[in-house]
Symmetry: C2
């Protein structure tokens, strides 16, 4: 037996008990004849004490311990004379009379402390050491706790957790699949699922009624910052539901998570913004509403005053940044630089300072009088001391630029505290979006999303105007999840494939089994999928999902700890009937 | 809104309520002016009634419904005159005044009933229809319930569920890996995990203390009956434990499952048989102890009596089959045929009938007197009316043959009822087994299994004799799980790799990061993995794990519903820098 207690367990009530602890050496201090060793495990820290006078051999062996050694000690629990109120075990210490070194440790490549000196690359290479650090370990524990609460809620609402296959068929729609060569069927491949979409719909056809799964999904993308080739979804689907039913059920889940994990009790319905409203007011389909700072159009006020840039623009709009009139020239220049970066893509930025003394000063004073600028200020609900930022150009693009600028201002002014949460839904997404490259419509969500009944008549006339029964769940500007009411009618599904440029043969080859399933009595159904990694990161206050994934890959899709991907044996390639050509 | 209640929910208390139900048409009966329709969903069946006299149009539309149509109906709950005590909703029926056909159905390719006319191939092709059948749906529901209870138990015992990566590095030890070509690193491959073994050990090095995961694993094997290329494990690992600690914890889990799922309260410790005892007495390392019928050696009694077959054999042993002396010549011949099949592999079978009248009749009467046969009977604890079956040859092989014969007799005599459960542990497995083909030792469990301390001195002298700290969990002759206490010492791990024929370079290339992890303070640790599919099948009374997997593959590893694996685009292959050569 290696232990009677964990390292975080002993209290003053255990005084005089004989105990055994096992764990890692966190710290060693020699004070005169006394040696103090902090022993650590997942549950906490305890102070061990060795007395040179009582037991010289033992005390000397304690002095030879190193950080991260794994030891097992027996001894008596004593009351500390010098109590540490910051430690749950701070009232006691263990006077050790037996010690066994279970495993030695070389000096770790970085310090195992909450604040470490290790860079990301080094910490990833030795991830098993990084995981010893409290902040990272707590992230994993939070992830577990959250998964549990997701399951509790869904279990209690009659959802059945059911597993879908990982080795499936490749489908060209959507992102790129990872594929798995079949050895037994030479030249053929399985694909790893980007989501269990079709299977969960088949579960509904099968009458499972309510399904969920916390499941790994895969996407072979050119890795962007903070994307992982494998990621985890909370995947749900329900039968005999409309959009409102699904939103209510899943909002209940979100509230359950907020309550059980963060102790926040949301007593109101989360706002549901239409896609159009979100775009027009926040320049984003995932607005961060921790602060307001809405976008306002200025076209009517600013045009035809001789400023050609505005006159030639489809759209002019701005935001009002409260109490930022004192921004310096340098700060304003750097904002202009910000909007001109390729990621934002503006041509320029117009500002108006509404000074405390009531005067107005702008970068376009040449074209606009103070009187006119006052109208801008009114349109943007600005008051003295505020800063107005104005952008012009093509409407959609300008709104997106203002959306990014809005977020930048929120960041600069500290309007986005990590412990404030503003959840909301975005609804009424367009069904389709035109893709210039492929010269065809793409599904905004996926090809199984149903159009709104009232827009069905536009499907032929004006497909771009058709709205979908689709919804996204957004917290603090993060798209945490999304879903839709699905098509459950074979003919409508065919029509969708048609609109998306599939030939009948392609649709049949790719999704024939789904459409054949619809022939045997399919119920109305819909659902959603949530990004577990993102949600945990958000609740954990982490900037990167890597912090809450046990063994993440780097931005090149490589596991630098075990060096995957890697070359494989020629024999293995031969068995798979494959040749590599570089 | 599609429903106010489920189809299994209404009771006499709901009498006179207006309700709305949605579901599938199970059955339609026309009785005079009345039409009765059974509507079905996951939760149950309700009887709908349509009255021709009250509403002719409605009644006629009900008559045009077909099986498996999806409908939504509104109506009033009535008390049935003719109650059906076999149905939870049998006291009531719904007098329908509104019906909507949500989705029609073609005639299904097989009947959606508990006993169906569909063959396995057809049912797999239309798995979404097969899943509508109660026995299959119940299997999935049981799987969910069991997963929940596994989690409950482990959560309550401080285990952290943590996810390990699916895209990992290929390792040649063990079965064949499925691999995933990397597009971004041309010519390199990820592998899909056969188990999260190394990652869970790293979790222990990381100090996670107790880990579990219900996780998909993958094995590219030549598919045998009832094997799946992807399968699900309950994977556990603990730190600061010895074999007894792990067995106790996981036995607790098994008992929790038996109690919560099967209502069986095991109040005793599960037996722990040594590998040697199990082999010698039951001819198997996963003995089915629903019946006893032990194997007994007969060498001392049967040798040197002139029967050359026995005299030349390393081993002679037998089993006593109670009350089977009346087996006919034909039955005995077919037993002989059975042991001679390639799967069993015996050269022949000797029988002795211990007749009710006390006489003994054998197939070797030429060599053995009745007096001598009586000694056989005594050695096998036989009584009048029993049948003795005797096999000879090389010892290990003979024991295995007797083991298989024992199971066959158990089956023939109905000694293996599906609702009786006899769980046990097999312990003290050999660490290594000699492989004639590769002329080297292979790890019986895996290369990370620790040898027993008391056998360490045999590692150099007689590796085949070294026992491992390894254990299997067996229920009714099924190996449900297995595990071991792991090596946590870098030097011993190196020695193991050495014994297994790895060069230093190979060991470093494959497992370098594990051995490097052991340099920074590794705790003693051990764990186990359980086969979820097998365990659910066992509790479900299913003969095949396919019954409890939502979308299984066939024995050729093919998903015949969506036809995977399949060819992929040349473009995709090109992106992966691969050429297929047949």
């Amino acid at each position: 037996m290696y232990r009677t207690h964990h390292c975080g367990e002993l209290r003053i009530e255990n005084k005089d008990q004989r105990v055994k602890l096992s764990g890692w050496v966190q710290k060693i201090r020699n004070l005169g004849g006394m040696t103090f060793v902090d022993i650590r495990d997942r549950y906490g820290l305890s102070q061990l004490v060795f007395d040179l006078e009582r037991n010289e051999v033992l005390s000397n062996s304690a002095r030879e311990l190193g950080r991260e050694f794994v030891i097992s000690v027996s001894g008596i629990v004593l009351e500390r004379s010098n109590k540490n109120k910051n430690m749950p075990t701070g009232d006691i210490e263990i006077l050790v009379d037996e010690i066994e070194i279970l495993s030695k440790s070389e000096i770790p490549p970085f310090t195992i402390e909450d604040e470490t000196d290790g860079g990301e690359e080094l910490r990833m290479k030795y991830r098993y050491l990084d995981l010893r650090r409290n902040p990272i370990r707590r992230g994993l524990e939070l992830r577990h706790k959250m998964s549990r609460e997701f399951r509790n809620y869904l279990d209690n609402n009659n959802f059945v957790e059911a597993e879908t296959p990982v080795l499936i068929k490749s489908t060209p729609e959507g992102a790129r699949d990872f594929v798995v060569p079949s050895r037994m069927h030479a030249g053929e491949f399985y694909a790893l699922p980007q989501s269990p979409q079709i299977f969960k719909q088949l579960f509904m056809v099968a009458g499972l009624d309510r399904y969920y799964q916390i499941v790994k999904c895969f996407r072979d993308e050119d890795f962007r910052a903070d994307r992982q080739p494998e990621f985890t979804q909370i995947d749900c689907e329900m039968s005999f539901v409309d959009e409102d039913d699904v939103i209510k059920m899943l909002e209940g889940m979100a509230k359950h998570l907020f309550k059980t994990i963060k102790g926040i009790d949301f007593t109101y319905e989360f706002p549901r913004l239409t896609y159009e409203y979100a775009m027009n007011n926040y320049g984003s389909d995932k607005p961060d509403l921790r602060f307001d700072m809405k976008i306002h159009p200025l076209n009517d006020i600013v045009k035809n005053k001789g400023f050609k840039v505005f006159d030639d623009s489809e759209y002019v709009g701005g935001i009002c940044v409260e109490n930022a009139a004192l921004y310096t020239r340098k700060q304003l220049d750097s904002l202009t630089d910000f909007v001109k970066t390729p990621q934002v893509g503006a041509k320029g930025l117009v500002y108006v300072k509404y000074n405390e003394d009531g005067t107005l000063k702008s970068s376009v004073d040449k074209f606009y009088s103070e009187e006119e600028l006052k109208k801008w200020a009114e349109a943007l609900n600005a008051k003295k001391g505020d800063l107005l930022l104005v952008v012009s150009g093509e409407m959609q693009k300008s709104l997106e630029i203002l959306g990014k600028l809005r977020l930048e201002m929120g960041k600069q002014l500290g309007l986005m505290p990590k412990d404030k949460f503003v959840p909301l839904w975005v609804v009424d997404f367009p069904l389709l979006e035109w893709n210039e490259e492929s010269k065809r419509f793409h599904a905004m969500h996926h090809p199984f999303t149903s159009p709104k009944k009232e827009d069905l008549n536009l499907l032929d006339k004006n497909p771009a105007k058709v709205r979908a029964n689709a919804y996204d769940f957004v917290i603090n500007g993060n798209e945490i999840g999304g879903g839709s009411i699905r098509i459950f009618d074979e003919k409508l599904q065919h029509k969708m494939f048609d609109l998306l440029g599939f030939t009948k043969e392609q649709a049949e080859a790719q999704f024939g089994f789904l459409m054949s399933a619809f022939k045997y009595g399919a119920p109305p159904h819909g659902g959603a999928a949530f990004g577990l990694d993102r949600w945990v990161a958000l609740f954990n206050g982490s900037d990167s999902i890597r912090d809450v994934i046990a063994f993440p890959k780097n931005n090149a899709g490589r596991d630098i700890m075990n060096d995957a991907p890697a070359l494989i044996d020629d024999k293995q390639l031969k068995e798979l009937s494959l040749i590599v050509v570089k």
